[in-house]
Symmetry: C2
Subunit: 373 residues, 2 copies
């Protein structure tokens, strides 16, 4: 059995207002190509199909394009759990029709306990479960953290689990010890909400979504697929692709396979002048770029000038020189008003005040002095 | 063959902020009961399943409850076209899975030309089509009105239509000569957008949605189902129910069957005092009521008092006594300031001013006179 494990597609995602739909269409076409090459027996999406609970029509249509290609046209079973970004109740519409065609879209806690069997493998498809939903379902007010919720769900699964089968858990959650990035929505704030990897003992394999780094966790049976694309500049060094999983001779073999995106992402820390003069350049001029630059005070509209050179510039962050700040604070104590203004100007413009500027400032200071006397 | 023809469910509809979901659940349960009694072979919904393009989760769940009951549990074919209130592109997700189970959800112009066959009957399920969509589809800029659009669609259907079958058109549109009410969204504004009934000649039967009155049109082959409920006070005298259609001995028999709602709707035109003293009462104290009342100036919070007696009061409209207005305007010309105030007070309170009021007004008028001199 060959499994393609995906997760965190976040279809419809925007970065700083830039819609990634074309990049996502490109990746989905790569997936389809790879599915044809590798002849997968099942495709799994471990949550966060969409980026928000009411996705755009274009996002819905792109997901349907993938579903149609995989499941309708190629007849490949497709297993999907909803993630914390997905609007589970909206996505659920029609799920009972989908499963007639081996498209299992699990979006509710009720669906967690009935495995989907494929040959000798039982797949438990557990969507992201909100603690309040779990409290209500189990009639148990003590369920306060996601750790407790998934502990309880796994206990309930363990009660019905068939040990003569291979049991695979598919879910969407944050495992203890994993790294996080900026584009992963917090599952909940103010509670200890991560999950201990040890609770997955009943399963032969655990395929997860939520964390965007495919190596956020290192474990012999528990795997993240990683996200479809670099969805924030904190993911700039993360590989993106899919997990290739094979069950052969009673053994699970899992590897991560990278896919090159349509547009890569770069984070460039430099000086504005070095960029403008092309002393420093991105690896690819079409990359999505976050510039973090010093020397920005030399121009009035640096973003415009950067976009002229690199149209996919998405973010510009100034480098504030911390040492200057400290110096300014210290100096203030022993300086006259004029000296403070002059040194502030100098530290920012790296040039002294002109004669005209000196005269103007002194005139204004005199007027202020007159008013406050 | 026995057909239940429904339309304009408008699931999730609110009237003056009051959500009708409980009333709609009640009606859907009536439909299901009737389906069991009459043993329908197919259930048709001729558009406007929902009240808005992004329906609430509760509205989606109620529609799914109906779909599940009819199609999943009872295995009855279900044919649905989307209406102008529905978000067709969102609703389309999964439609290719639905039809495997004889649930045809047609939401795009592409789906209009391929009939669904049931025994010897071919059903053409044509959703509400926007003129811009039709322009693009037919590559024809001359399509400006809905009349032209449906003319063109019917021509295209006529080209493929099999005359040896019975051909039924299901659609959602406004036929010329029909009555309109407040709760029907205008299909488009500023264009001649209604459709001539004569263009339906190629069909043996036409089952429509959009107009909420089941008898908005009188024709031997073209029928509206009418809406699920009275959705505005302009529909207060309209019967609501479903169309019972039978094809027997090569003949179509069509009748309208009313269903009593959970909560009826009444429009009461009277005097506030007559309501409060129960000289006038609604037919049912639980009805949704629009009061249109005179004598409202006698109380400060008439809506609160009406709701105490009739909690489902949804609207209160004052009856403005036109004759008094005219008299007041005329009289102003020949009266002193004091006389104007006194007669204004009297006409509203139907009592003369008290001595204290007279003194106060005269004192204030004197002060004003003093200021302006």
């Amino acid at each position: 059995m060959k499994i393609m494990h995906l997760g965190d597609l976040h279809i419809g995602k925007k970065i700083n207002g830039h819609l990634l739909l074309d990049d996502q269409k490109f990746m989905i076409d790569q997936y389809i190509k790879i599915i044809d090459e590798k002849q997968f027996d099942v495709v799994i999406i471990a949550g966060d199909v969409y980026d928000r609970s009411i996705p755009s029509i274009e996002a819905i249509q792109l997901f349907e394009y993938f579903v149609k290609a995989v499941n309708v046209e190629r007849n490949i079973p497709l297993f999907v759990v909803t993630g914390n970004h997905d609007g589970a109740s909206r996505m659920m519409f029609g799920h009972q029709f989908f499963k007639d065609h081996a498209f299992y879209l699990n979006a509710s806690i009720q669906q967690a306990f009935q495995p989907v069997a494929l040959d000798d493998v039982h797949f438990y498809l557990v969507p992201y479960i909100d603690t309040d939903v779990a409290k209500y379902y189990f009639k148990d007010e003590t369920l306060k953290t996601h750790g407790q919720v998934y502990q309880r769900i796994i206990e309930a699964i363990s009660d019905v689990l068939d040990d003569t089968k291979q049991n695979v858990l598919v879910s969407h959650l944050f495992i203890t010890g994993s790294e996080t990035t900026d584009s992963e929505k917090e599952l909940s704030i103010g509670t200890i909400d991560n999950v201990d990897v040890n609770m997955f003992k009943p399963f032969d394999l655990v395929l997860l979504g939520h964390l965007h780094h495919p190596f956020a966790l290192t474990h012999d049976r528990v795997f993240y697929s990683g996200s479809m694309l670099k969805f924030s500049f904190s993911e700039v060094n993360q590989p993106k692709g899919y997990r290739y999983i094979e069950y052969i001779n009673n053994e699970w073999k899992v590897q991560f396979v990278p896919i090159a995106p349509k547009t890569d992402m770069e984070h460039i820390v430099s000086d504005f002048d070095a960029i403008i003069t092309k002393k420093v350049t991105p690896k690819n001029p079409n990359s999505y770029i976050k510039f973090e630059l010093s020397g920005l005070h030399l121009t009035t509209d640096p973003m415009r000038r950067l976009k002229e050179m690199y149209p996919n510039t998405l973010e510009l962050k100034p480098i504030v020189e911390a040492i200057d700040e400290v110096k300014a604070v210290v100096d203030v104590m022993n300086k006259t008003d004029f000296e403070i203004i002059a040194s502030f100007y100098e530290s920012f413009h790296q040039n002294p005040l002109s004669t005209h500027q000196v005269e103007t400032i002194q005139r204004i200071l005199k007027e202020v002095q007159h008013e406050t006397d």
